[in-house]
């Protein structure tokens, strides 16, 4: 069975090649960030080469990039130097975020939750994202889903997807493929408040906020 340490090792192994194929930001993330108000702290959780942290840097005073893979963080460091943007890089686990409560104004958690091997890990990562979001903060959470053309399945399932290195060698990567309905349910059952949910190119995109005042309860306060 895969563990989060296995996933980290996998990405350490393929980091350089993987990052070289992840040059451009996703349009859905660009739209989310460009709609956001300027704020203080941005977070790219599962940052990879920081292509999305680079966008956040235009909207926030300080951007943090967190990834479990040191190899990917090195590609982020190179990209930040080459493209002249500032990002604070941290090696960390999405299910145990090393940030204090309420510190993040704008976050993206893109195409990462699908690599957490257990339901408990995935649930905890959503609750952790809620914990670090500041009141009024927003995050975009995305995952690959069964709605993608690649899949015949309609229910969520676990699988491995091969990564082929330039020499032809393949490396298995763990994926949990959510059905859109199951992903929406996972968000609703977390400490996050679901603001908007959409399907685009076989990926689910959820705009979320921190539930106020307590986990799972809706705030009566309006206009914030």
């Amino acid at each position: 069975m895969s563990t989060r340490a296995d996933v980290r090792r996998t990405y350490d192994r393929i980091a350089e090649h993987f990052a070289s194929t992840r040059e451009y930001a996703w349009p859905e993330v660009e739209a989310f960030v460009s709609d956001a108000r300027p704020s203080s702290v941005g977070l790219d959780l599962g940052c990879g080469n920081c292509r999305h942290a680079e966008l956040l840097a235009e909207r926030t005073d300080r951007v943090l990039g967190i990834d479990a893979s040191r190899g990917l963080l090195e590609t982020a460091r190179s990209r930040a130097r080459a493209r002249d943007f500032e990002v604070d890089l941290l090696q960390g686990d999405a299910a145990r975020i090393p940030l204090a409560e309420g510190t993040v104004d704008l976050a993206v958690y893109v195409a990462t939750i699908q690599h957490l091997p257990t339901e408990a890990d995935r649930r905890e990562s959503l609750n952790e994202l809620a914990r670090v979001l500041a009141p009024g903060g927003r995050a975009l959470v995305s995952t690959w889903s069964t709605a993608h053309d690649t899949f015949d399945e309609t229910e969520s399932f676990d699988t491995t997807v091969e990564w082929t290195l330039p020499g032809g060698q393949t490396v298995d990567r763990f994926y949990h493929i959510y059905s859109p309905a199951a992903f929406e349910t996972a968000l609703e059952e977390s400490a996050l408040e679901l603001v908007e949910f959409e399907l685009s190119s076989g990926n689910c995109y959820a705009t979320v906020a921190r539930s106020e005042p307590a986990r799972g309860r809706q705030s009566k306060k309006e206009g914030t």
């Binding site: 702290v41 941290l90 090696q91 204090a100």
Partner: protein, 64 residues
């Protein structure tokens, strides 16, 4: 890492504050040292400027 990050970082395990120990600087960058949890005492190394805040069970048991 920038020392000012200490204001928002916390221990990934119990979420308590971290203290910077044995820091080596290059300008205003902390290039090496340890981040130590003020509560549980767990130590997180800063390796070539990047703090390794992975919980111990996800860390590699090899020298950096």
């Amino acid at each position: 890492m920038k020392e000012s990050l200490l204001e928002i970082l916390c221990c990934p395990l119990d979420k308590h504050d971290l203290e910077l120990e044995d820091a080596q600087y290059d300008g205003d960058e902390v290039v090496s040292g340890d981040l130590v949890c003020s509560e549980c005492g767990e130590t997180y190394p800063i390796e070539d400027g990047i703090p390794n805040l992975l919980p111990p069970d996800m860390r590699e048991q090899t020298p950096a």
